[in-house]
Amino acid sequence: MSLSRFSAAVAAVLLFTTAVHAHVTLENQQAAAGSTYKAVLRIGHGCEGSPTIRIRVRMPEGVVAVKPQPKPGWELTTTVGKLTQPYDAGHGRTLTEGVTEVSWAGGKLPDEHYDEFVIRMQLPRQPGTLWFPIVQDCEKGVHRWIEIPAAGKSMDDYKEPAARLTVTPPAP
């Protein structure tokens, strides 16, 4: 790697980490296609001082075998819907329905505190970028982390971008 490319990479990383840590993001933002992935959603603040009382996530297309982790003090519910592409669950079973939305409600996460919400899932076999739109309901106000950057734009161009996961080609 040449010096200029190295500096560009470092600059990008620095700018990236300083600019986005106010957003809701995933702890691991890269995973291999087809792998089982543990999504850890990091909630760093409420809505302008108001505590968070509900977190809702919509699953991107192609994500299957979705299992959210229960959380003490929060009521966990899931919405089951039709999958865009049926998937082979093994043992000769083909599933056409699956979890499309996950919600943790009824808790109270003050603005000053930090918490994580966990969902395990199986990633699609094709590499690419997955966007997890997240709605953060607070006692007063709401943050919709649902903006998906248009072509040629980055997450930093948006006020409330969705959480991004880069799906890399499967390990050989």
Binding site: S4, A8, L14, L15, T18, A19, E48, R144, I146, K159
Partner: protein
């Protein structure tokens, strides 16, 4: 440059508090005067209050003529930016701001206020309507000249490339004709920009020498289209000196110029696949119609070449005409919501007229394909004069079809599959924009400088009404340095979103962006362009 970036990033990282601010970007909290305020006395200053300290980049106060009234430099103190104002006369003003927040992220926006209670400066007068009608006539005439010149220039080039070149035939006279037509098309394309500006501003007859007309015109899609056409034609003209690659460059320029036609008009605001269809339509029309004249000229002068050319053209024209007809039908269907629109709306009536000439044109073409051309190739008696007569008929019909196409390009279509009665009754400017599989029907009334009302209807592509949770609209003029002026749209009981009033005092084409929260997890953004013309277009 890259090392500089690295240093900037390090400095930024060092200065940001470790935990980071709760918000990455600054937010405008309020303004004085407030957005949409009607003041009886001119304000002495403008105040913008943010949630965190910011530094101003640009702050402009534009009057109805587009002139910047900001005489001093803005001062920033704590979370506020202040701008002292000179004594402002009565009228409407647009304030546009752009600031940099602590994280070095630039943000911008705009708001409006009016002073005094007098009539809106851009009020509609019958004189304006007459002037605009005159400009519209010139716009349409210029468009027709552009079509015809492009058929000769681009169509003729494609005929040479696809038909004559494989036969190793070259006719010097054709090259001269093409050059002249290209120069005419070039002039018509550029003139279209000024004419469009004159139409939007309803300027007096001397408008073409008024720079205002050209500034207004340059901000429209007409200018984008003209730029593409001019680029294609210049390539076509310059290619004549290019030696070996000449034929390929000429054909490339011809294709670019034809494709440029669909960068404006109804096609430019549709979905991607519709835009692609419009390009295809223009290319096939250019190839087919552009061949008539060279064929006619070839007949008496080069009988031997004509034999081979007629046979070759006949086989190439067939798929071109099929694509032309199919793309035309599909585009017409997307613009007409119901069959009754064919009869009821002006657009539908013009479309029927066009079909009235397209039909016979196709019949003559079919007669040529299966009768006149085989007879000519077989060398039958009278076949040559029959074919020549048919081609002359095709040229006449083609001219009428192009004239109606130019008229159609300046007639608003009856709208998408949403509430047709309403669409027909509307008096302002109506556009529809699409994003993925959703459409927005946006109405701005009266689409004149001054107070305007906005109505937005959302639907799926299948025509079912969509009821987003919330929606907002923003108006911007990037070329005039006006940042987006954003307003929420109120949702009515009928599922229609409305904004009672927004004061936009500058004539010309405004970029409009509508954002709708389709459901909890999805926001759709539609972008389109609305011309605010000094005279509203009575229907």
């Amino acid at each position: 440059m890259l090392r500089f970036l690295l240093i900037v990033a390090c400095v930024l990282a060092a200065f940001l508090p470790a935990g980071g601010p709760a918000w990455a970007h600054a937010i405008l909290v309020d303004t004085q005067p407030a957005d949409g305020a009607s003041l009886s006395v001119a304000p002495s200053e403008i105040v913008l209050r943010f949630n965190e300290p910011v530094s101003p980049v640009a702050l402009r106060v534009l009057d109805a003529g587009g002139g910047d009234r900001a005489a001093a430099l803005p001062r920033s103190q704590d979370n506020e930016i202040r701008l002292a104002l000179p004594a402002l006369p009565d009228g409407g003003y647009i304030v546009s701001w752009r600031v940099v927040s602590a994280d070095s992220h630039p943000i911008g926006g705009g708001f409006v206020f009016t002073i005094g209670t007098g009539a809106s400066p851009g009020a509609y007068t019958p004189d304006d309507a007459r002037r605009e009608a005159a400009w519209t006539a010139f716009v349409i005439a210029d468009r027709l000249i552009l079509y015809i010149a492009l058929m000769f220039a681009s169509g003729g080039t494609l005929f040479s490339f696809f038909v004559l070149r494989p036969l190793r035939v070259e006719v010097a006279a054709f090259a001269t004709w093409r050059r002249r037509a290209a120069v005419l098309a070039l002039a018509a394309a550029i003139l279209a920009i000024g004419l469009k500006g004159g139409q939007l501003g309803a300027l007096p007859a001397s408008g073409l020498i008024d720079p205002a007309a050209w500034t207004l015109g340059l901000a429209t899609s007409t200018a984008r289209s003209a730029a593409i056409i001019v680029a294609g034609l210049l390539l076509l003209l310059v290619a004549a000196r290019a030696g070996r690659a000449r034929a390929w460059l000429e054909a490339g320029g011809a294709l670019v110029a034809l494709a440029g036609l669909s960068a404006t008009g109804h096609a430019a605001t549709g979905a991607r696949w519709l835009q692609a269809l419009a390009v295809l339509h223009a290319l096939c029309a250019g190839f087919w119609l552009g061949a008539f004249w060279p064929l006619l000229r070839l007949m008496p002068a080069h009988p031997a070449a004509m034999l081979a050319a007629a046979r070759r053209f006949s086989s190439l024209a067939m798929p071109a005409v099929l694509v032309l007809a199919a793309s035309g039908v599909i585009m017409a269907l997307t613009r007409l919501g119901e069959w009754s629109d064919l009869v009821v709306s002006a657009y539908g009536q013009l479309l029927l007229c066009k079909l009235l000439f397209v039909g016979p044109l196709l019949i003559v073409a079919a007669a040529n394909r299966w009768q006149a051309t085989p007879a000519f190739v077989a060398g039958r008696h009278h076949a040559s004069s029959d074919l020549a007569r048919n081609v002359r008929l095709e040229i006449a019909l083609g001219f009428l079809v192009l004239a109606l196409t130019a008229l159609l390009a300046h007639t608003p279509p009856p709208g998408v599959a949403i509430d047709h009665d309403h669409a027909r009754a509307m008096t302002g400017h109506t556009v529809w924009a699409s994003q993925r599989n959703r459409t927005l029907l946006l109405e701005v009334t009266p689409a004149a400088p001054g107070a305007n009302a906005v109505t937005a209807r959302f639907a799926t592509e299948a025509g079912e009404t969509l009821a987003p949770l919330e929606a907002r609209v923003s108006f911007a003029r990037p070329e005039a340095g006006i940042e987006p002026i954003t307003r929420p749209l109120a949702r009515g009981a009928d599922g229609v979103f409305r904004l009672e009033r927004i004061d936009l005092n500058l004539p010309g084409a405004w970029n409009v962006r509508v954002e709708a929260l389709i459901d909890d997890f999805e926001r759709a953004a539609f972008e389109t362009e609305i011309p605010l013309s000094a005279a509203t277009r009575p229907r």
